[in-house]
């Protein structure tokens, strides 16, 4: 299908892209480049359509918005497309979304490149996202990531050979009180069984266990992995707010 020269060129570009990703100085963004490079599994000519079930869902989503503001549905639709396509958005999926909401494709590309939770390159069936923001970092997210990468034998944003796992980094997920944490986006069951779970208070040992469980098809318990804690409560039970709080001393609330 491909002319040899074109194939060579695209291969070379892929190599460059790999190089770009690996170089330690490069700032790491969600899924690297802000432009598209044609590849056999990601090109505008590849056919892409919402599945029948998702077509219904898309209609449902569109019904939330006034009919002259269809473009408001871009984010939920991209999310749906991403779930359907195993966790990432090929350019043809973005084009399909553009068609549904009746805007120029570039308007969808803009959104998809802006949000780091839209993956524009292949991810594993389980996409593991390590929080790298300050609180988690202080609590050891670097080691967590290292443990994951070593265990899986991949680089960041690379997919394991069996296509099961990939590790990415993201910013604060609002779970700092249980830092460090990872998120597992589960694309094994398409958009129907899609889950996006937090695993909190992880340790390098525990994340590897979680991965092993996932590989065996088990469901690791979500939330905090520290048996001493209940949700985001302190280790070993509450230490404050043990009784009814007293009213503020400075004001007479009833008088207001």
């Amino acid at each position: 299908m491909f002319a040899p020269a074109a194939r060579l060129a695209s291969k070379r570009l892929l190599e460059i892209r790999q190089l770009f990703r690996q170089s330690p100085q490069a700032r790491s963004f969600s899924t690297a480049l802000n432009y598209h490079i044609d590849s056999p599994d990601n090109n505008p000519d590849a056919p892409w359509e919402f599945s029948d079930v998702n077509k219904e869902k898309a209609k449902e989503i569109l019904s939330h918005y006034p009919s002259n503001y269809k473009q408001s549905a871009v984010i939920p639709l991209l999310d749906l497309a991403q779930q359907q396509h195993g966790g990432w958005l090929p350019v043809s999926a973005m084009n399909a979304v553009a068609k549904v909401i009746e805007v120029a494709p570039i308007r969808v590309y803009e959104v998809a490149t802006f949000y780091s939770m839209f993956n524009r390159t292949k991810v594993g069936k389980y996409h593991l996202l390590v929080c790298g923001t300050t609180p988690c970092m202080i609590r050891g997210s670097r080691e967590i990531e290292e443990a994951l990468l070593n265990y899986l034998g991949v680089k960041r944003n690379e997919v394991t050979k069996d296509g099961m796992f990939s590790v990415g980094e993201m910013e604060c997920m609002g779970c700092c009180v249980n830092a460090p944490m990872i998120t597992v986006a589960d694309y094994t069951k398409g958009s129907e069984g899609y889950t996006y779970n937090y695993y909190e208070d992880v340790t390098p040992k525990r994340v590897v266990e979680i991965v092993e469980m996932l590989r065996r098809g088990e469901k690791p318990p979500v939330g905090t992995q520290n048996p001493q804690r209940i949700r985001c409560g302190p280790e070993g039970g509450n230490t404050t707010l043990l009784s009814e709080p007293k009213p503020p001393p400075c004001r007479d609330l009833d008088a207001c």
């Binding site: 802000n34 432009y35 803009e110 490149t113």
Partner: protein
Amino acid sequence: MGLGLLALRASRSLALNRLPRAFAYQNPSNNAIIRGIVSTPELQNPEAAAAVQQPEPAPELPPRKPVAGARVHFTNPDDAIEVFVDGYPVKVPKGMTVLQACEIAGVDIPRFCYHSRLSVAGNCRMCLVEVEKSPKPVASCAMPALPGMKIKTDTPIAKKAREGVMEFLLMNHPLDCPICDQGGECDLQDQSMAFGSDRGRFTEMKRSVVDKNLGPLVKTVMTRCIQCTRCVRFATEVAGVQDLGILGRGSGEEIGTYVEKLMTSELSGNVIDICPVGALTSKPFAFKARNWELKGTESIDVTDAVGSNIRIDSRGPEVLRITPRLNEDINEEWISDKTRFFYDGLKRQRLNDPMIRGPDGRFKAVTWRDALAVVAEVLHQVKAEEIVGVAGKLSDAESMMALKDLLNKMGSNNIWCEGNGSDPQADLRSGFLLNSSIAGLEKADVFLLVGTQPRVEAAMVNARIRKTVRATQAKVGYIGPPTDINYDHQHLGTGTQTLLEIAEGRHPFCSALLHAKNPAIIVGAGLFEHKDKDAMFSAVETIAKLGKVVRPDWNGLNVLLLNAAQSAALDLGLVPESGNSVESAKFLYLMGADDVDLDKVASDAFVVYQGHHGDRSVYRANVILPASAFSEKEGTYENTEGCSQETLPAVPIVGDARDDWKIIRALSEVAGIRLPYDTLGAVRTRIRTVAPNLLHLDEREPSAISSVAVKPQFSQKVSIAPFGAAVENFYMTDSITRASKIMAQCTAQLLK
């Protein structure tokens, strides 16, 4: 609550800096005490700054002139509000932004993202000004002016804000001005000189961005981009091609098309002017010259009938680039890509010397004397009615006048201008002009395009229609072959049949026309050469009558001409006597005419080609007389709306060429029928007797009578034939554009 807050504030300021601050409040002149404590206290606390400055008596302000001729137009005098810019009161209409109010008050606010012809983005923050009682500096381009607003543009806060924004913008901007084509006319450069700091504090690595390929016209150096999104807004709003977008975010943000895609717009060159930095520059002009070495000549574009105002930038004998000049009535501040980039055709395939084709079929360079002698001799050997003259698309009014006079003196009146067809209607000016005027099209609310594709025929007219459609949701109906129109439109049909249906009121589009306030019909000049031209024009006039298109207060019946010479030719009465004069011609004088069907010319006819490019007609010519191009001469052109304008010589004439009218004048002398003018002024005096409107430069001369009122009704049978496309290749329409390499590249890459 208000009182409580005030009390709180008072107690806080007392508690925090007990004596000195309280002291300073009472005695503002004694600032030195505070200085010692905080370096610039008035910048830390705007309220304090306001308090410090208020007691000063308002100084007598000299009246200021609005920036760049900014005008206020009050649609409704009740809507006027008064704001104070640096203490100077100005009246502005409601809804104007702070930045516009400042412009009217004569204060130029620095800006990058704001552009008066694009939507407001408000993302560069360069336009920050201080507004009294607002806690932070405000982005003046996005802030509506409110009654009584006190705007301050030269306070320390405003100054510091600008300096800070400038520092941020320069953080990721490469310091490559010495190798940047924008250098010298760069907004970033100028504004950092005027408003920036002399040093930055950023010591990290600068980012770099992959350059994008936008086609053969626009060169990108994306690392220089400051993300003002002007180009994105231009492409989306004015050019109507949604190709460009802003991708990614934060410091990874970049302008691009995501998937590799060329910018296929006929207006793409304008992003070069609009980009405030050197991120988008001209590819053909890249590294050719620094802009301060160029000599600018204000001139007129001749590649289409719009007559866009341009500046020809030249160095020595070479035209190096063409940029638009502002003319609100014609091209606003845009020009089409053809206008901007065809200039390299001026250097290629030029005719330098007079030449005569020898018996062996080859051209031999001769002297002017010999060439003119040969032409004069043949001229006298043929019968008067066998003499035919054709003026080309790029001819100016003066040379057409001279050619007509020459032929008339020889007893022939077989002269016309290319594109006008063999039987043009030249009696009523309203029959061939764009009567609503280009700017007037903005008032129309329904358009009917008949056999015209304005996008390729007159890109600037198309931009106007698009502007109108975007602004007012005007309806557009189009009759003609399927074509790419970049605004919402209805394709009503492909030819005469649809036109007749509308004329007879059978077509659904009729109701739109009938209900329109200012309907505009635009007929393509391509129909001039259609065989059922009269029937078609009468159908159009019936529609015009039906829809009340021509009224005393509105004339919406328009003809869109195709080339620069057409309307002047009709004004001068270049109408041939017989329809098939080319076939019967024995002496054919082609003045830059390259689109004449030369196969029809008899093999024993003597063909003189007077022109500047060795294009199609020279293959048949017997004698070549080299003439000057529009960039080398002073000439009058009338555009499609009837506005005459003038080209000025920017570069010297190539080789041994001469101005067109001078050649004809010389020929008349050699032929013994001397034309009575020796100077350009004298030619113009002669024009005054024929078409005085041509001499009223830069003025649109509307036609006095409208054709609907006086024309007799035709009722002819017409053949049901679809209309053809008048312009097949937007980039190559005349001898100069066909010689241009850049236009050839565009044809190859952009028209697929």
